[in-house]
């Protein structure tokens, strides 16, 4: 249980900001406003926001925006970014073609 456990806790109303249309996730083109709004709809974890908005789910897997998203969500929730668990790390670490995965060659010359 943390201070973010009860999802009915009042975090205040969503207040539009002038830079809400700024792109945060470069890959999936998710804006700051979309992320802030999602927090006010009840998505309080990085995982939920990712799954709902796709930020950090593009080709780079959040390499560039993870810290930025975390900062935005923390500010909206008025909590420390350290409280927010980063998204799960998932293989493959780099986008990998299906035919490459499909070919599990028996031997290397190592």
């Amino acid at each position: 249980m943390s201070e973010l456990s009860n999802r009915s806790k009042d975090i205040g109303e969503f207040v539009p900001m002038p830079d809400d249309d700024m792109i945060v996730c470069r890959c999936e083109e998710v804006t700051k406003g979309e992320i802030r709004k999602a927090v006010h709809e009840g998505l309080w974890t990085i995982a939920e926001i990712r799954r709902y908005l796709r930020c950090g789910m593009g080709l780079c897997q959040g390499q560039t925006c993870a810290k930025l998203v975390k900062g935005i969500v923390a500010r909206e929730l008025k909590c420390s970014p350290a409280l927010l668990e980063p998204a799960t790390s998932r293989a493959p670490m780099r986008p990998t073609e299906m035919h490459v995965f499909a070919d599990e060659t028996e031997e290397t010359d190592l």
Partner: protein
């Protein structure tokens, strides 16, 4: 599916990964290092400046040369480095799946060391997605690895060591750096790095940040503005620059995803730069057999990464019985001492976030250096490296406590003294005889040493300064002497140009200026 086995699998052939591999291989372990890049060395081969530290840390050697030495040492130790080998994941039971060419291969290591380094942080500003806005590391990669200019006119955001060093490298590559900007009120990196950029004429804008990057298909300009204590823009302070490139150097984050995937206990540690594994002093994670080393477990310098790598290599060797606990202890004690000496001084990890106003010697830190990038004329006199005496002598404009002492080793005449405390400010010894060999000027990684003769007759003074730009001025070339601030202060003539193998591509330019500028002129710009 075939699984190939190694005693130790290392992910990442950068400074820490290679160092770990060397130590493990020396103990007879069967080691393989995987790296996704076409060349080994991680970021070392992009570092064309001379490193800080002491002899044992390979101080005053340029980063890419350290990379070459490390590679040679790895080859000699029989380390196998697999390049273009992208690690796809770290699965249960220390299984490493690697993409090599158009196939994936499965490997298991009795021990695994993750040394995947870091990636660049970003900040949001209007237009940060436009082509022409790039990470400072990207600029470094383009110019230092591939010989391509990142841009013609560049604005640098970020005054940490990366921002400062890359700004200097941009100048070396022939780019025009129009400004160095940081939202913080103080320069984040080493003062000497800032000073060598400032004296070429690059203006520093602290407490400023980017308001908007302009351009439709690519960057054509940038507007910065001053920010208040809460990082809010102050109306009316906007400044515009025509640029084609904006570089962002706002810190690094550990690339610790593989460790997280493997189930290692992680923590969010701002002092280490973000998500890092919880490790002991030698890189052991919570998962038996998995170790980490280098930036992936906390952002530091390449020099520390190399020592951390050696520690993890030793720890893994002992874990698998390739050395005794006693042998391990001896080795680790030695490495710890070396690492500890690097982790000293104003910029040490333990001092991050602290407001340091005085040197260890009790001398006030230059406020101009912190806010503008250069030490003011009236501040410079208070440091022990700055003395006045007849004849030629070193003037050492080193004003912050950093772990670095090659200048002391460079002078065999006893003109420079630091003592045993590696972070102490160097003293220019009054009672000594400088023979004008120039070794101190060339060996100072901060390019902070000048040989000054305040009176060469005819009302002139001579100043010998380090010079790492092209074209190299010739003897007789006339131009302007620039101040520490980078402003032309007087006419100057090049009277001597020295290049030598021992100087390692740092040329020594001796200029003659009116003697009242002996303590003011610090750079030369040809006409």
């Amino acid at each position: 599916m075939k699984i190939e086995r190694f005693d130790l699998i290392i992910v990442g052939a950068g400074p820490s990964g290679l160092s770990a591999a060397i130590e493990a291989a020396k103990r007879g372990m069967k080691v393989v290092v995987f790296d996704e890049n076409a060349r080994p060395g991680g970021q070392l081969f992009k570092q064309i400046h001379k490193f800080f530290g002491s002899k044992e840390h390979k101080a005053k050697i340029r980063g890419f040369h350290i990379g070459e030495q490390l590679l040679q040492e790895a080859r000699d130790a029989g380390v196998k480095v697999e390049l273009n080998a992208t690690v796809v994941g770290l699965y249960q039971d220390r299984e490493v799946v690697v993409r090599m060419g158009e196939e994936v291969h499965h490997f298991k290591g009795d021990a695994v060391i993750i040394a995947t380094g870091a990636s660049e942080n970003m900040v949001l500003f209007d237009g940060w997605n436009l082509p022409g806005v790039m990470g400072a590391g990207a600029a470094q990669t383009l110019m230092n690895l591939y010989g391509v200019k990142p841009g013609e006119k560049v604005l640098m955001l970020g005054s940490g060591n990366v921002g400062l060093v890359v700004s200097f490298q941009l100048l070396q590559a022939g780019c025009d750096v129009v400004a160095l900007v940081d939202a913080a009120p103080k320069i984040g990196g080493y003062g000497v790095h800032a000073a060598k950029v400032a004296r070429t004429g690059v203006p520093f804008y602290l407490s400023h940040t980017i308001k908007k990057v302009e351009g439709t298909d690519h960057v054509t300009g940038v507007t910065i503005a001053q920010v208040d204590n809460h990082f809010q823009f102050i109306e009316g302070t906007e400044k515009h620059f025509d640029v084609d490139t904006v570089c962002v150097a706002v810190g690094l984050s550990p690339m610790s995803q593989l460790l997280k995937m493997a189930g290692c206990e992680m923590e969010d540690n701002p002092k280490r730069g973000g998500q890092v594994p919880i490790i002991d002093d030698y890189g052991k994670t919570s998962v038996p057999g998995i170790f980490s080393a280098g930036d992936v477990s906390g952002i530091e310098e390449a020099s520390s990464a190399m020592i951390e790598g050696r520690m993890a290599g030793v720890a893994a060797a002992e874990y698998l019985g390739f050395m005794t606990a006693d042998e391990k202890k001896t080795e680790l004690d030695k490495l710890s001492t070396s690492l500890e000496s690097l982790r000293q001084g104003m910029f040490a990890p333990k001092n991050r976030g602290k407001n340091i106003t005085e040197t260890e010697e009790g001398i006030p830190i230059s406020t101009n250096l912190l806010s503008k990038g250069f030490v003011a004329d009236d501040e410079i006199e208070r440091y022990p490296g700055v003395i006045h005496k007849a004849g030629i002598h070193p003037v050492i404009e080193c004003t912050q406590n950093i772990p670095c002492n090659p200048c002391q080793d460079a002078c065999n005449q006893g003109c420079i003294s630091i003592g045993d405390n590696i972070t102490a400010l160097p003293i220019s010894v009054k009672d000594s005889k400088c023979i004008n060999c120039g070794m101190c000027v060339a060996s100072c990684p901060g390019q902070a040493i000048f040989l000054v003769d305040e009176d060469t007759g005819d009302g002139k003074a001579s100043i010998t300064l380090p010079y790492e730009f092209l074209p190299l001025p010739e003897v007789g070339a006339k131009g302007k002497a620039l101040s520490r601030k980078g402003e032309p202060v007087c006419d100057a003539e090049v009277v001597k140009v020295r290049s030598s193998k021992a100087f390692d591509n740092t040329s020594l330019l001796t200029i003659s200026v009116p003697k009242e500028y002996a303590m003011k002129a610090r750079f030369f710009k040809a006409e």
